[in-house]
């Protein structure tokens, strides 16, 4: 795994490529960093937190999120005071593992590879350029990505949906303080579909991004779950496209069970109330009547777009693209690019959702492996066997780990009560509640507990959100 790395050059041909990779410095030694987080506590450098859709800032030394892989801190050289102005150096002083190294430099490595798979993904469409929705100007017009982070238990608002989401929780500036006073829990939220998709008038994306209909329905359902059923959710759409397994049922359930309003209309424009920040909108309904309505928040369902960097990459390495910037492939070779031996998977192939990306990934892996069949198992290494512990005759020792999965399970099951009850059962030596038990940090902790208590490894208790 090569992180903070970018491909600089590709030479050679199918079966024998040489790939030149530029490794950017992390300024933190991966072999030493223990991810304790001491370095971030006093770090004065700040920059926008891209993981949280820039809704908040983060320190210059950071880990993207607690479950990140590899779980190693990194310094953003543009935001670090030591690296930009040679002032500070606090993180080096406080690091208990002596992992900080400001002298790290870029390095270039060349790798021999038989095949190459391109999976550079997409970037969410930036709606700032649309003057009719005023995303850049109105505080309560947000993108679906920002809304997604607001819904997340690990997001900037810890799953609480509120207006003026970009105003910090503890505002210091006068302007922010005034806005924070206006903050409220929205009672009416509207989603605008096809922002940056199926549009050749205001942008050049003629294609359907294929995921926005479903994620908008999902966001509306989850928003209602968080805020209560009196939240008024409306989705303004051109066509609802539900082409996957159970997707149509999900859409129908949203209408009938969850009471989400679906309005077939493309809203012309949005006007902000300068006092309250509420959003007035005007649209024509299916009968052609003009309707005026006011919402507390508008979510723009932005489409998927191929980034400028990916387009430049494709041009540099002779990968043909379609008009919309996706990799050109053939009907019978859906993961093969125009350059022999280079394959494509994910959204760079065409807009798609997660299950389809997974399918695409396996297809690209098969094609890439097929081309190298004769070289199979020539470079792989043996996985060292894990020594087994003989526990025959030991007293059984059972560990119960209850995952609350944010609000996903905790919203349905009384996790503390279950944990408390489990602790009273025979042979249970550990009963703990944990958030996101599937994440690496939580699993490492479980391994430690299992080793320490000699808890039998077959006894981890978990719940699946689908059947709580």
């Amino acid at each position: 795994m090569l992180t903070l790395s970018e491909v600089q050059n590709i030479t050679g041909e199918k079966g024998n490529f040489q790939v030149e990779i530029l490794k950017k410095p992390r300024y933190v030694r991966e072999d030493r960093c223990i991810a304790c987080g001491a370095c971030t506590e006093k770090c004065p450098g700040k920059f926008d937190d891209g993981y949280n859709a820039d809704l908040k800032t983060r320190t210059a030394i950071y880990v993207e999120y607690p479950q990140a892989v590899p779980l190693k801190y990194a310094i953003n050289p543009a935001a670090c005071l030591k690296l930009t102005k040679d002032k500070c150096g606090t993180c080096q002083e406080v690091c208990p593992a002596d992992a900080i190294d400001y002298t790290m430099t870029e390095e270039t490595v060349t790798i021999d590879a038989g095949s190459i798979i391109l999976a550079p993904g997409f970037k969410p469409f930036d709606p700032s350029r649309f003057d009719n929705y005023q995303y850049a100007k109105f505080a309560n017009v947000v993108t679906s990505m920002e809304f997604e982070r607001m819904l997340s238990a690990t997001g900037p608002t810890m799953g609480h949906v509120t207006t003026f989401p970009k105003v910090p929780a503890n505002p210091k500036k006068k302007k922010d303080k005034l806005l924070a006073e206006k903050r409220k829990d929205p009672k009416k939220i509207a989603w605008f579909q096809c922002v940056g998709s199926r549009d050749v008038n205001k942008c050049d994306n003629a294609y359907c991004s294929s995921v926005c209909c479903m994620y908008a329905v999902k966001e509306a359902i989850i928003a209602k779950e968080h805020a209560g059923s009196d939240l008024d959710c409306a989705i303004f759409f051109m066509d609802m496209r539900t082409p996957g397994k159970e997707f149509e049922k999900y859409y129908q359930d949203a209408k009938t069970r969850h009471g989400i309003n679906f309005i077939r209309s493309r809203v012309h424009s949005v006007v902000e109330d300068p006092e309250t920040g509420d959003l007035h909108l005007q649209y024509a309904d299916e009968m052609g009547q003009i309707v005026r309505d006011t919402y507390d928040m508008i979510v723009l369902s932005v489409g998927l777009e191929i980034s400028k960097e990916t387009r430049a990459f494709a041009e540099k390495f002779n990968i043909d693209l379609t008009e919309s910037g996706f990799a050109k492939t053939g009907s019978f070779e859906p993961v093969t690019t125009s350059r022999d031996g280079i394959y494509v998977s994910g959204v760079f192939n065409n807009p798609k959702d997660i299950p389809e990306s997974v399918l695409d990934a396996s297809a690209a892996a098969s094609a890439a492996g097929d081309a190298l069949a004769e070289a199979r198992n020539t470079l792989t290494k043996e996985i060292p066997a894990v020594p087994e512990t003989n526990v025959i005759g030991d007293r059984p020792s059972i560990g119960v780990f209850i995952c609350d999965c944010g609000s996903n399970i905790a919203g349905v099951v009384d996790c503390p009560d279950v944990t408390e009850y489990a602790a009273t059962l025979p042979y249970v030596t550990v009963a703990e509640e944990t958030t996101y038990a599937c994440s690496q940090d939580a699993q490492d902790k479980m391994v430690e507990i299992i080793k320490g208590k000699r808890t039998q490894p077959h006894c981890g208790g978990g719940l699946h959100p689908e059947d709580p």
Binding site: M1, N16, I21, Y65, K72, A113, G114, I116, S345
Partner: protein
């Protein structure tokens, strides 16, 4: 058997698709280099709260 081809693959991009391709190839006997421009893998999917239609956690 002597091979004229290199038994390794470079996967560019550490999102859900790149990670899956890398795992599939590693499981089928190829050495894989997963190249990611950010400090950690996971891509956009790791930013999502829930995924439809099951409303499962995306992490």
């Amino acid at each position: 058997m002597e091979s004229k081809k290199t038994g390794s693959v470079v996967v560019i991009g550490g999102g859900i698709s790149g990670m899956l391709s890398a795992l599939d190839l590693a499981n089928s006997g190829f050495y894989v280099y997963l190249v990611e421009k950010g400090p950690s893998i996971g891509g956009v999917m790791a930013q999502l709260d829930k995924t439809f239609p099951t409303n499962d956690c995306a992490m």
